[in-house]
């Protein structure tokens, strides 16, 4: 009896020891090939495919396994920050949303890329705007993997009925809202209190020739610049739309998908959104949610202007790749980047996953041209896009803007930019909660 008990206890300890050994062995395979862990944002499997292709191409030098981060950009950041703050060596590579690069780099979470040959390989031919988000303190820390931008999507029938040409160089938000109002139609934008709303506001402020903060690299000492004519012009657009009959009923809670649903619906007229909506509309046709005629009615143009005489500054999105600073395999991680960031990988990823490339050359590829009739427009839009403020305190800046500007119908062009500027200064100085 006592013997049986002792045996059971011993078996328990043995099981624990084996488990611990298995955990410890996670860093590599039995044959000694180091396994790199790449933390990726969810996509349709394109990153996992690239990971296995690059593993094979390495000729046994390394193997890449992927770990999927949460859906929302904020949640992805939360998980990465937690792990990196604890110096997690399992993060060899990560897919990072560009606005978070400065915060991560400033905290010493990213391993800078210093070899001249690598810097050149990762930056040559990359469009300007995404490239801006890739460096911190003069060092390349997170080269762009793919880049994104919003376009103006419109229903050809509505534009025709209203007698406007959204593809015209000088097409403004005012013309857009008036056209939708005249036809009794709606404009899809992102008005929920989340990062997407900040994307809209930042694009409006930048299109009006302003910025949200001055000297963003000064971190907590940066000065808000939103309380200026450009900020007020942006607030005029937001408030004009929110109070107009062209505002969708769910404006205060609308994200990308809600805007798409408005746009594809019977009241849809205009929408600002990422290019994924084009493939998504094709899927809607395939599933029978919308008729082919609705899909054929969809047109695209560059992001609308705030002022007729100043070119718009479209939003910039995408994903950058970075090497975790606590990795045990820095050389292999660098070699993996060389493979993942190649032009061929960019073409494949754009065609298979629908995410636009950061390198200009990709857009000249016939496969890309075929899948994206608006490829050239996307490239030009990315090239002239305005990144969100590049600051280690981006979270504070973005959330204080979102909080002051939400809901859109309460935005007052005289008051709101000033309120958000003073709130932001207090938040950055630690005198207000956010």
């Amino acid at each position: 009896m006592a013997d049986a008990h002792r045996r059971r206890v011993a078996a328990g300890w043995l099981a624990m020891a084996v488990g611990a050994a298995a955990v410890a062995a996670c860093g590599g395979d039995a044959d000694g090939t180091p396994t790199l862990t790449w933390y990726i944002n969810p996509d349709n499997g394109g990153q996992a495919t690239l990971a296995s292709q690059c593993s094979d191409a390495s000729g046994g030098a390394f193997r890449i396994s992927t770990q999927i981060l949460p859906n929302e950009a904020d949640a992805q950041r939360e998980q990465l920050v937690r792990r990196l703050a604890a110096k997690d060596s399992s993060i060899d590579l990560m897919s990072l949303d560009p606005p978070f690069v400065a915060e991560f780099a400033n905290a010493g979470y990213l391993r800078p890329i210093t070899e001249d040959a690598d810097v050149a390989a990762f930056t040559d031919g990359v469009l300007d705007a995404p490239l801006e988000t890739a460096t911190w303190d003069g060092e390349l820390v997170a080269p762009p993997f793919w880049a994104n931008t919003q376009l103006l999507w419109y229903r050809r029938s509505v534009a025709e009925a209203a007698g406007v040409d959204p593809t015209a160089d000088t097409f403004t938000w005012e013309q857009l809202i008036a056209a939708a109002e005249g036809d009794g139609k709606r404009v899809g934008v992102q008005g929920r209190r989340y990062e997407g709303y900040m994307v809209w506001i930042n694009a409006l402020v930048s299109s009006a020739g302003g910025t949200i903060i001055d000297d963003p690299a000064a971190g907590a000492d940066a000065r808000p610049a939103i309380d200026a004519p450009a900020g007020q012009a942006a607030a005029r657009v937001v408030s004009r739309l929110a109070r107009s009959s062209a505002a969708p009923a769910d404006l205060a809670t609308a994200g990308e998908e809600e805007a798409r649903s408005t746009f594809q619906g019977p009241d849809g007229a205009f929408m600002v959104n990422w290019p994924y909506v084009y493939a998504a509309a094709q899927e809607s046709v395939a599933s029978g949610a919308i008729p082919q005629s609705t899909f054929d009615d969809i047109g695209w143009a560059r992001y609308p202007r705030v002022e007729a005489d100043r070119p718009s500054a479209p939003p910039l999105g995408g994903i950058n790749l970075a090497i975790g600073n606590f990795t045990e395999h820095p050389q292999e991680a660098l070699a993996a980047l060389r493979c993942l960031l190649s032009v061929e990988a960019g073409v494949q990823y754009m065609v298979e996953s629908g995410n636009p490339a950061a390198r200009a050359a990709v857009y000249d590829d016939p496969a890309v041209r075929e899948a994206y009739p608006m490829a050239e427009l996307i490239r030009d839009s990315i090239a002239s896009a305005a990144p969100r403020p590049i600051t280690p305190y981006y979270g504070d800046v973005s959330q204080s803007v979102q909080r002051s500007w939400h809901p859109a119908r309460d935005v007052d062009p005289q008051r709101t930019p000033a309120d958000s500027a003073s709130f932001m200064s207090k938040v950055l100085a630690g005198k207000r909660l956010l």
Binding site: A85, D396, P407, R432, L433
Partner: protein
């Protein structure tokens, strides 16, 4: 027999109860041994509890005295109570206190009444008793996040059926403060009324049948029986139910997180603590918020226990 005798009987019942609990004063060797064994058996879990709760609690107090952002370790600086001053002088803290209080008061009040009705049904129903009890308990078995999503989708403009059912056309429930709070509270009530009714049912079955019989024989009306016999005998159960639910509701997080993300002034205190600590990684101010939240919880528990002056020993079911 009149109502006075019923009461004296009740006192008698209480008397017996205290006599039994006083009995073990003269302990035998056996009971002392059992007691030591009990402590010994409880010790490991006690040590674990201290390790997993007391340590983080104390660490939070320490952190709350610093200006400390996880992504800026070099900027860590001791600032004494400044974080507390900042938090307590901030309109966001007080707005969140108000929101939390509104949700707590409304949901607990409604749940108590509904929960009692459900407890009564579960107590009285004769046929299909297990079916009724299971039916009532189902919402409580659903994960809160899942129930929050279900309610959100039901009220959402593009996918929800609520507006269609009630002919509300384009009313955006999550576009304004009060309509958002309405949905949040409604979902909270739907989800946790079963819990409160379960606790009240436990109290209801403890009401001695002979007291009720005696009261009926004496000609007490249903209302009198409820007020003079049932409720006083359920006092401990009601207190436990109220205390648990109030503390639960006070820490509400899932519903506002899923439904509004805290927009439209629907942020609660737990949500504020989460945002400071987890999303802004502002550990100093975040810990101060957490410590203050903890103090409000202690205060609520204290008020309840003092206010009810109830001997929780009655809940041991020794009657």
């Amino acid at each position: 027999m009149n109502l006075t005798t019923v009461r004296s009987r009740a006192r008698l019942a209480g008397g017996t109860h205290s006599a039994t609990s006083a009995a073990p004063a003269a302990r035998t060797d056996r009971s002392r041994h059992e007691r030591r064994l009990g402590l010994l058996l409880a010790a490991p879990s006690f040590v674990v509890m201290v390790a997993v709760t007391a340590y983080p609690l104390l660490y939070a107090v320490v952190l709350s005295l610093y200006r400390y952002r996880l992504t800026d370790p070099a900027g860590k600086e001791f600032i004494g109570l400044e974080n507390y001053v900042t938090v307590l002088r901030d309109p966001i803290w007080w707005a969140d206190v108000a929101t939390t209080a509104i949700i707590t008061l409304v949901s607990v009040a409604v749940e108590l009444v509904l929960g009692f009705a459900f407890a009564w049904v579960m107590y009285k129903v004769l046929r299909g008793r297990s079916l009724v009890r299971t039916g009532i308990l189902i919402p409580y078995g659903i994960v809160t996040v899942v129930s929050a999503f279900v309610w959100r989708y039901a009220f959402q403009l593009d996918s929800g059926f609520v507006n269609q059912w009630f002919g509300l056309a384009e009313f955006n429930w999550f576009g304004g403060r009060w309509s958002s709070l309405f949905v949040i509270t409604l979902s909270e009530i739907w989800k946790t009324t079963p819990f409160i009714s379960l606790l009240l049912l436990a109290g209801l079955v403890q009401v001695p049948g002979e007291l009720l019989e005696a009261a009926t024989v004496d000609g007490a009306t249903a209302r009198q029986r409820l007020q003079k016999v049932i409720l006083p005998n359920m006092k401990a159960a009601i207190m436990v139910a109220l205390l648990f639910r109030t503390l639960d509701a006070w820490r509400i997080f899932d519903n506002p997180y899923v439904m509004t993300g805290g927009a439209n002034n629907t942020e609660t205190l737990s949500f504020l603590a989460y945002r400071q600590n987890v999303s802004l990684v502002n550990l100093g101010a975040g810990s101060a918020v957490s410590v203050l939240l903890f103090l409000t919880v202690v205060l609520i528990a204290f008020v309840f226990i003092k206010g009810f002056r109830t001997d929780l020993g009655q809940m041991k079911g020794q009657r």
